[in-house]
Symmetry: C2
Subunit: 599 residues, 2 copies
């Protein structure tokens, strides 16, 4: 059993839950079929297991260091990234004209996921680069794309996104970084950016930063933000690397986890001119940056799910092999010890991981398919429908896996007991790595406000109707099944509760009060989306079992059991959260700052 | 504002929620009054803030190392423990005849708590020593006590507890360590012990291990376990330190957190004879060890609560001082940024910490008062009543704080955002430290089985009746209050649900099935106990507010608001957990080992 991937499960998402084969019929993907997809996943698994997994613990223990103004990374990091790049994997999703493979995002997402499970922080450099290059491809001028895209796609150069500043983490309207036009189409950048992942490293030949900054006289707030491409080393017209572009590394942050990827404080324009180039129109920086952020948000959700998966698979293997104790009620101390998977509470801890991790993967792969479908859609109305659905689900896809697979990692540690708490075993590392995910790319709280404050009411609230439509086939199939009918009814009921809750909340005139329980709403809405995807999985599994899926019977039985557990244990608690949101309780909101400790 | 203690809150527990002054009327405590208690807490706070808090981050970054078979600890650890010992604090609870202060456990618990909040792993050496010495005092022979107690009480020697072995962590019936009688009253120890906190260090002059081992011919299982005192260095009749007693340090475990206290693998009798001395009767080792374990379990709960408190106070201070963003709906980007405590979701994250942390402290101080009251009780029936109540609540007091203040620490990180995820701020350390608490001193799952499998049915189920009686005064007081009546009714309802759940579960004949949801039961039962203690706090606070408690109005308002939030948000979810337990769902239990991944 692999410790980072369950290939049977990936096939389930690609070909049973979703419909990759239908997607591959699009002209863009004509070079691909099930065999080429299998081959790319085989390659990914091989490189991940042979190059990335073995150095994950070492990278965590020996993180990159700050020396003489530079970030020095361990050789093991350089070696595994080199393998990745040489295999051509950075080009997975890009156009053939750029040397890319033109794979659907749905496939790339699993390819990336395998690496995230093996060594999330190492591969972070690459995936930031991919998102960076996608944004450049979508928003950059022909000249910028010609000069900067090829080396990014090849993986010779890496990319970053530079949004936050020390005084403005979540509050982008307050950023102060300046970009002054030099008259020749270039700009002079000054200012400080904070929390920049991969902001400096000694792995790639160059680093291409995507930087939010203000132009002189720009309006205050987010409407005055523009987006700039700012290379670490300037690039000549022929694409050669030139002079240092005066981006000073002021320091590295020392994180709890995700230690393999540098996290930097950068001073643009310190010690000399720092040149940047406008990407997209002036003052439209935030809108363009969202092109990268939406992709990154799904990537964060997938990274979380993969930390969860790695912990799940490791603790499952441990639970099957570690003998300890006997069933309660067994009085004979000479009877043999049981593998701990036989203990009810260990099995519960595994099931908690399974429902969370596989539920998350289902949601993320579903959303990634939406990305592809939206790209491929020729009908404008259909494209708009898919876009709205994706808008609704993006905060959920980022947040629910981040919050709940962290719980899954907690359970993985618990299964290993004291061993799990030591750095000799990987499960505590996954837990530490995963703790970042509810923070970056928009905190959990901000995603909640995005969902309840904006997304559920988008286009006059049609987003919820679109999602409701999507749920119908599973609800209809469940209604006809003895095993699943009760779950279908439960989903229908909680969905009505979601809608009533939104209606109630929308009636509150005061914006602060209206959004005060946005986070519990986000969590509960996530449970509903995951419950739907579990029902879909169970419908497929029941059907397969009825059709006599001999070889895979265990796999399908597990899907049905997990669905049942999620509906019986988790869904009723989510309903209570929704009732709380609908009650518009003010006990937190009315608490004054001085009440917390009375001083 | 102190970052480790809210003295107003401690006074609330000691003199308003509980009745320390009544306790101090006992002859044993006649040297103490409110002033001496304040003085000892002042001293503890001063030493904790000046000696323990400043080196907490350093101890975490530079943990003890294994060199040439010895554990070498940082100088900062030695220095802060020296300060503690020189202040005479290790003797807090011991008899005056031993040079002790004869303080109630209730006071000692808060004194210890202040250190746990400042630097939990450093002070762990001392509290293990205290529990070790309490057990020796309770179970040891006069000769053993005369020789070993004084240096332990003085803090010149430290103590440990040695239960687990590499192949037997939770399963004590399988331990193999042997103790062979030498005919002179001493025993020769052989075997390996794992996960021994403080098992080696270079701080104290000697280390006194309390070791579970089997004598030749002892029955299999826990009925054949005896308890031995085993010193690192032998001790002469006159109490001088003699030869090495051949306890080889085989290695240190490298933990995620709690790094200041060594965690060791020890080989007893490697390289020479290792002598030990029976404590209590042969074959009664586990019973005697429980004397130490019950105290340690409350200590673990308190340590968890204090990690939670330290994160809460730190993030509260940060939230009051960090400006970021504006209220949703404020469109003017030139308006000033708000301190983040003004954001509803930050306030929610603070409230989540408050209800969990202060609820935990209330439970633990209540239980510690039970320990004192039980010691002081002269009436046999009353003593038995208190003992049963404490038996019922010990698994809850160990577990609920461990599980839920870990969540609180997660929220503290979230409030600090990216900063919270770095090692430059203490909140991530508290989160890592706290993760141990659901594992050691009996895992979360084992505490659940103790509660549902044994404690709720102890003495014919009278434990639940005793607890129900304890709840009556708060329920009666709430019934007469407009603000609190609904909460009193909710508590009555969920308590009926607890009782019905226990009745339903008890009808299940199969032990494995009966206990399969013991952990959700433990969690929900903990919520009920915490809800009761919040209601008690709110009753007191309402009364104080009605009586016009001007200076403390904010403090009391905070207690009422927290109680409301806990009842409105958390209690309904706990009720759903109880309904799940009562439903005796078999979806996890029936899941086969092969179903999880289908292979």
């Amino acid at each position: 059993m692999s410790m980072i991937v369950n290939r049977r499960d990936i096939d389930f998402y690609l070909y049973e839950l979703l419909d990759l084969e239908e997607l591959l019929k699009n002209d863009r993907y004509k070079e691909h079929d099930r065999d080429t997809v299998t081959a790319i996943l085989d390659l990914a698994q091989q490189i991940a297991e042979e190059a990335f997994l073995p150095c994950a613990a070492e990278l965590d223990e020996h993180e990159p260091v700050f020396e003489a103004g530079r970030a020095i990374t361990p050789d093991s990091l350089k070696a595994c990234l080199k393998t990745f790049v040489e295999a051509g994997l950075p080009a997975a999703t890009f156009d053939a004209s750029l040397g890319g493979m033109q794979l659907p995002m749905l496939v790339a997402n699993f390819m990336q996921g395998i690496f995230q499970a093996a060594n999330g922080s190492a591969v972070g450099y690459i995936f930031l680069t991919t998102s960076n290059a996608h944004m450049l491809e979508a928003c950059g001028s022909d000249a910028l794309r010609a000069r900067y895209l090829p080396p990014l796609v090849e993986g010779r150069w890496f990319g970053t996104m530079c949004l936050s500043e020390p005084h403005a983490g979540s509050s982008l309207s307050d950023i102060r970084c300046m970009a002054e036009p030099l008259g020749d189409g270039s700009f002079k950048l000054t200012g400080t950016k904070m929390w920049i992942s991969g902001g400096d490293q000694d792995v790639s030949e160059n680093i291409i930063h995507m930087v939010l900054a203000r132009t002189p006289g720009a309006p205050a707030g987010v409407k005055g933000i523009s987006l700039f491409l700012v290379p670490k080393y300037r690039v000549t017209e022929t694409g050669e690397i030139g002079d240092f572009n005066h981006i000073a590394l002021a320091g590295l942050n020392h994180k709890m986890g995700q230690r393999g990827i540098t996290n930097t404080l950068l001073n643009f324009g310190e010690g000399g001119d720092c040149l940047g180039y406008l990407v997209g129109a002036e003052h439209e920086g935030l809108k363009n940056m969202f092109h990268m952020m939406n992709e990154a948000r799904i990537g964060v959700g997938m990274g979380a799910a993969m930390s969860g998966l790695a912990g799940y698979l490791y603790s499952l293997d441990y639970a099957r092999n570690r003998p300890q104790g006997r069933h309660p009620g067994i009085k004979d101390p000479n009877s043999p010890m049981l593998p701990i998977i036989e203990h009810a509470d260990i099995r519960r801890l595994l099931m908690e991981q399974k429902v969370t991790v596989e539920g998350s993967i289902a949601l993320l792969s579903y959303c990634t398919q939406l990305v592809d479908q939206q790209e491929m859609a020729e009908d404008a109305a259909e494209k708009e429908r898919l876009t709205l659905l994706l808008e609704l689900l993006t905060p959920v896809a980022k947040s629910w896996p981040s919050e709940y697979t962290l719980e899954a990692n907690k359970h993985a540690i618990q299964i290993l007991g004291g061993y799990g708490y030591t750095r000799e075993y990987p499960v505590e590392r996954h837990y530490r790595d995963n703790r970042l995910n509810p923070i970056h790319e928009g905190t959990h709280g901000i995603q909640g406000m995005d969902l309840l404050g904006r997304k559920v009411n988008l286009a006059g609230g049609v987003t919820l109707s679109i999602f409701e439509e999507e749920m119908q086939p599973a609800l209809q199939a469940a209604a006809g099944s003895e095993t699943l009918a009760a779950m279908g009814e439960a989903l229908t009921d909680i969905w009505q509760l979601v809608k009533r809750t939104v209606e109630t909340v929308n009636q509150e005139a005061d914006t602060v009060a209206r959004l005060s329980s946005a986070t519990p709403f986000l969590d509960a809405f996530g449970h509903v989306a995951i419950a739907w995807l579990w029902l879909r999985q169970a419908v497929i599994a029941r059907e397969a079992l009825q059709n006599g899926a001999q070889a895979d019977a265990d796999f399908y039985e597990g899907k049905v059991a997990a669905c049942q557990f999620f509906y019986r244990y988790h869904l009723p608690q989510a309903a209570e959260k929704l009732r709380y949101v609908a009650s518009q309780d003010r006990s937190v909101l009315d608490t004054q700052a001085s009440w917390f400790t009375g001083q």
